[in-house]
């Protein structure tokens, strides 16, 4: 009888300790829940990059490389020449032409598109006697198609030329050329 009572007390003690341990461990954690939501959108990017020959004649180094807002300086030009060595210069008796390679990089994300169409337009109409071209396509304030099968992730060479007739008065001929890449 005494042995039985002892056993009961011992088991009660064990159960008590076990219960306390369970209680203790259950209270030593905390939880929280964070609901996260998003909507993935397709997107396309166009940026100007410096080609491998940047800085050499025919390929000026652009300012703002790897962004979508870049600039290139064609310098001061006349029939006598251009003061920027990186600009290719040619002339006739009635005009001169400046040429330079620009590179554009178009990338896409989350699109089932194999290529893109690239257009370009002038920000403002040039003075009479001034003509801009890219890859031989004449530029106006309307969109000119440069390619309908551009490859994503590869630098696209844009051969930019401006021809100035000798009838054009001394003036600032700076232009903004707006490019638009559209996924096919």
């Amino acid at each position: 009888m005494a042995r039985r009572a002892y056993l009961c007390r011992w088991m009660s003690c064990v159960l008590l300790i076990w219960g306390a341990a369970t209680y203790s461990s259950a209270q030593n954690t905390a939880t929280s829940a964070l609901v996260v939501s998003m909507s993935v959108q397709s997107s396309i990017s166009l940026e100007f990059v410096n080609g491998s020959g940047a800085g050499t004649q025919g390929t000026c180094t652009i300012t703002g490389a790897n962004t979508s807002t870049a600039s290139v300086n064609f310098g001061i030009a006349s029939l006598a020449g251009d003061n920027q060595s990186c600009v290719s210069f040619s002339s006739t008796t009635k005009s001169y032409t400046l040429s330079n390679n620009i590179y554009a990089l178009v990338t896409q994300s989350n699109l089932a598109s194999s290529g893109y169409t690239l257009t370009a337009s002038l920000g403002s109409a040039p003075p009479s006697g001034v003509a801009w071209t890219i890859n031989s396509a004449a530029l106006t304030t309307g969109a000119a198609n440069l390619t309908s099968g551009g490859s994503y992730g590869s630098n696209m060479a844009l051969y930019l030329q401006v021809t100035v007739q000798n009838t054009v008065t001394t003036s600032n001929l700076s232009e903004t050329i707006n490019f638009v890449a559209t996924a096919n």
Binding site: Q27, T29, V35, S37, S39, V40, I44
Partner: protein, 187 residues
């Protein structure tokens, strides 16, 4: 002596009886005692807060909050306080949020933070907290020795494949939702 005997035999019992009668004439009373049992247990409490530099949480200051990245893309505009890094085949959008864990009744100086997703994410999307990728199959340790009692910033990131939907990328134009279940465990 006779007088003393007379007092002892007659007067004192009479006074005692009078006292008893007087007590019986007062309002009845009862007495009792209440044993109050209280055990001070140990406990942790975790609360989610908006980080000053992060997306504003829904239900900030509670244990059940929400965080909306909004529209995310590799090149398009993002919501306020969502940042982006572009990789070769993926892009990552991130924002900080805060976790505050309070402790009581424990001689614990730090806690371990772990997290688990409630549901599997679509192909091409993974969620990370502090650069630790989370899954819906097991709770993953995120931080091992976090300090109690202050808002600690954590970075929630979504790593998204740039592949097209069906080609390894996530669906586009639809809302992706999951829940991160955080657990703070006292060390």
């Amino acid at each position: 002596m006779n007088l003393r005997k007379t007092i002892r035999v007659f007067v004192l019992p009479a006074l005692a009886a009078l006292g008893a009668l007087s007590a019986a004439a007062q309002n009845p009373s009862a007495s009792g005692s209440l044993s109050v049992q209280l055990q001070n247990g140990s406990g942790l409490q975790m609360v989610l807060y908006s980080d000053p530099s992060g997306v504003t949480l829904g239900n900030s200051g509670t244990a059940s909050a929400s965080l909306a990245f909004g529209n995310v893309s590799a090149y398009g505009a993002l919501s306020t306080n969502v940042t982006r890094t572009n990789g070769t085949n993926s892009f990552t959008v991130s924002t900080p949020f805060d976790i505050n864990v309070q402790v009581s009744g424990l001689s614990s100086s730090s806690y371990t933070l772990s997290g688990e997703l409630s549901t599997a994410l679509p192909t091409g999307v993974t969620l990370e907290v502090d650069s630790v990728s989370l899954s819906n199959t097991a709770s993953t340790p995120i931080q091992a020795k976090e300090t109690y009692g202050s808002n600690l910033a954590h970075t929630l990131s979504a790593v998204i494949s740039t592949s097209a939907s069906g080609s390894g990328g996530p669906p586009t134009g639809s809302t992706i939702t999951t829940t991160i279940n955080f657990v703070a465990t006292a060390n």
